[in-house]
C-alpha cells in the first residue's frame, strides 16, 4: 500500500475516534459513556498503527502525521468528519454504517500481499469485532425508530464514500440498500477545521514538547 492509502485509513480512524470521544462524559447513560470512550481509544490505537506504517514510507513519525499536517492534507472521508453530539440517533447510525463498511475494507486488507498489512488488518479485525457487536446491538434496538431511519437515509451516501468504488457493491449487499451517488473522499466538510483546531491545540502551543 502506498503512503496516501495508509493515511486515508489512519485519518478515518483518528477523526472518527475523535468524534466518538466527544461523548465521553455526556453519553445518554453510563454504559455508553464507557463504551464510546473505549471505542474511541481503540480507533485511535488503530490510527496510530496505520500512521506508523505510513511513517516508515515517508520518513516521518506517527504523531507528526496525526497532528502536524494542515487540515487540507488529511485524507479522511467526509463521513467521519460530521459532528453529531448531542444527537444519539445520528451517532448510532454512523457508528453502525461505519463499522459495517470498515469490516469490508479491513477484511479485504487481510488478503493483502504485503504481510505487514495483512497481519495488522487481522489484528484490527479481531478488535473491531467488539465494535461491530456493539453497533449491531444498537441498530437492532433502533431499527424501527423514525429518527434512526432518517439518519441512516441521510448518511448512506457518506458511508458509500468511505469505500473504494469496487468495494461498494458489498456494502449495498450487506445492508440491503441500493447504490446512490457517494459523497467522495477528497473535499472536506466545514466541520473538519474546528475539530483540527481543537485536536492540535496543545501540540501547536508548544512545538516539540514531549510528555
Amino acid at each position: 500500500m502506498n503512503a496516501q492509502e495508509l493515511l486515508a485509513l489512519a485519518d478515518d480512524e483518528l477523526i472518527l475516534g475523535w468524534r466518538n470521544s466527544e461523548w465521553t462524559g455526556i453519553a445518554p447513560f453510563l454504559e455508553e459513556d464507557v463504551a464510546f470512550s473505549s471505542i474511541a481509544q481503540t480507533e485511535i490505537g488503530h490510527a496510530r498503527a496505520w500512521y506508523d506504517l505510513a511513517a516508515k514510507e515517508l520518513g516521518a513519525n506517527a504523531d507528526a502525521l496525526a497532528f502536524d499536517r494542515d487540515p487540507d492534507e488529511y485524507r479522511c472521508a467526509p463521513f467521519v468528519e460530521l459532528r453529531f453530539v448531542p444527537d444519539w440517533a445520528q451517532t448510532i447510525a454512523r457508528h453502525w454504517l461505519y463499522e459495517t463498511a470498515d469490516t469490508i475494507r479491513i477484511q479485504a486488507l487481510m488478503q493483502s500481499e504485503e504481510p505487514v498489512v495483512a497481519s495488522l488488518a487481522e489484528k484490527i479485525d479481531r478488535e473491531e469485532a467488539y465494535h461491530r457487536m456493539h453497533a449491531d446491538m444498537w441498530a437492532d434496538r433502533l431499527r424501527e425508530e423514525p429518527r434512526f431511519r432518517e439518519a441512516v437515509e441521510e448518511l448512506w451516501p457518506y458511508a458509500l464514500g468511505l469505500l473504494e468504488p469496487e468495494q461498494r457493491d458489498r456494502l449495498c449487499e450487506a445492508l440491503g440498500r441500493a447504490a446512490v451517488k457517494a459523497v467522495e473522499r477528497g473535499e472536506h466538510t466545514e466541520e473538519l477545521r474546528p475539530l483540527w483546531d481543537e485536536m492540535t491545540m496543545v501540540r501547536r502551543s508548544i512545538p516539540g514538547a514531549a510528555w
Binding site: 464507557v34 463504551a35 473505549s38 480507533e43 490505537g45 488503530h46 497481519s119 478488535e127 457487536m133
Partner: protein, 159 residues
C-alpha cells in the same frame, strides 16, 4: 555475559502497568528473547493496539535489560496477541486480584457467543453472572455483574 534465561527472569518481574498483579511474561506479551553478545532482542506484542501502557512496557523492558548490562532492542512481533497467550499462572493471578480471566478460545463475534459462556465471579465463585458492558475502563476489559454477591467485576476480553 547475560543469558536468555536471565532476561526472561527480569521481564517476569515487570508488572503490567495497569494490572500490576500480573507480569509482562504472565500476560504473554513477550514473544521471544534472543541474546547475541551484549545485545538482547525482545519481540513483544501489545494486547490491544489502543493500549496506552505499551510505551511504558517498552521503556521498562529496556531499563531492566540495561540493568543486566546489555543493550536492548524491542521489536513488535508480526503476529498479534491473543488472550490465549495469558499463562495459567497469569490467569490465576488475575482471578486472585478480582479480574475474571478471558474465556478461552477464539475471539467472539456475536453477543450470543459471549452470553453462552458463563464466567465465574472472582469474588464469590458463583457462575450466576451476566455481561453488563462489552467495554470497560481499558480496551482489554469488559464489565460483568454477579447476581449472587451483587458485585460488578471486570473480565479480560477474549481476543
Amino acid at each position: 555475559m547475560v543469558t536468555a534465561d536471565q532476561v526472561w527472569e527480569a521481564l517476569a518481574e515487570i508488572p503490567d502497568p495497569e494490572i500490576p498483579a500480573v507480569s509482562l511474561v504472565d500476560l504473554g506479551v513477550v514473544r521471544s528473547v534472543a541474546v547475541e553478545d551484549d545485545k538482547v532482542r525482545v519481540e513483544f506484542t501489545p494486547t490491544f493496539l489502543g493500549c496506552p501502557a505499551v510505551d511504558v512496557m517498552r521503556d521498562q523492558m529496556v531499563e531492566r535489560i540495561n540493568e543486566l548490562g546489555a543493550e536492548a532492542e524491542i521489536a513488535v512481533a508480526a503476529e498479534g496477541w491473543s488472550s490465549d497467550r495469558i499463562t495459567p499462572e497469569g490467569r490465576r493471578k488475575l482471578e486472585e486480584s478480582g479480574f475474571a480471566p478471558p474465556a478461552p478460545g477464539a475471539a467472539p463475534t456475536t453477543l450470543l457467543q459471549i452470553q453462552a459462556v458463563s464466567s465465574r465471579c472472582p469474588y464469590c465463585g458463583s457462575n450466576d453472572t451476566r455481561l453488563e458492558n462489552l467495554f470497560g475502563p481499558t480496551p482489554c476489559r469488559s464489565i460483568r455483574y454477579c447476581a449472587a454477591c451483587r458485585q460488578p467485576f471486570e473480565q479480560f476480553k477474549s481476543l
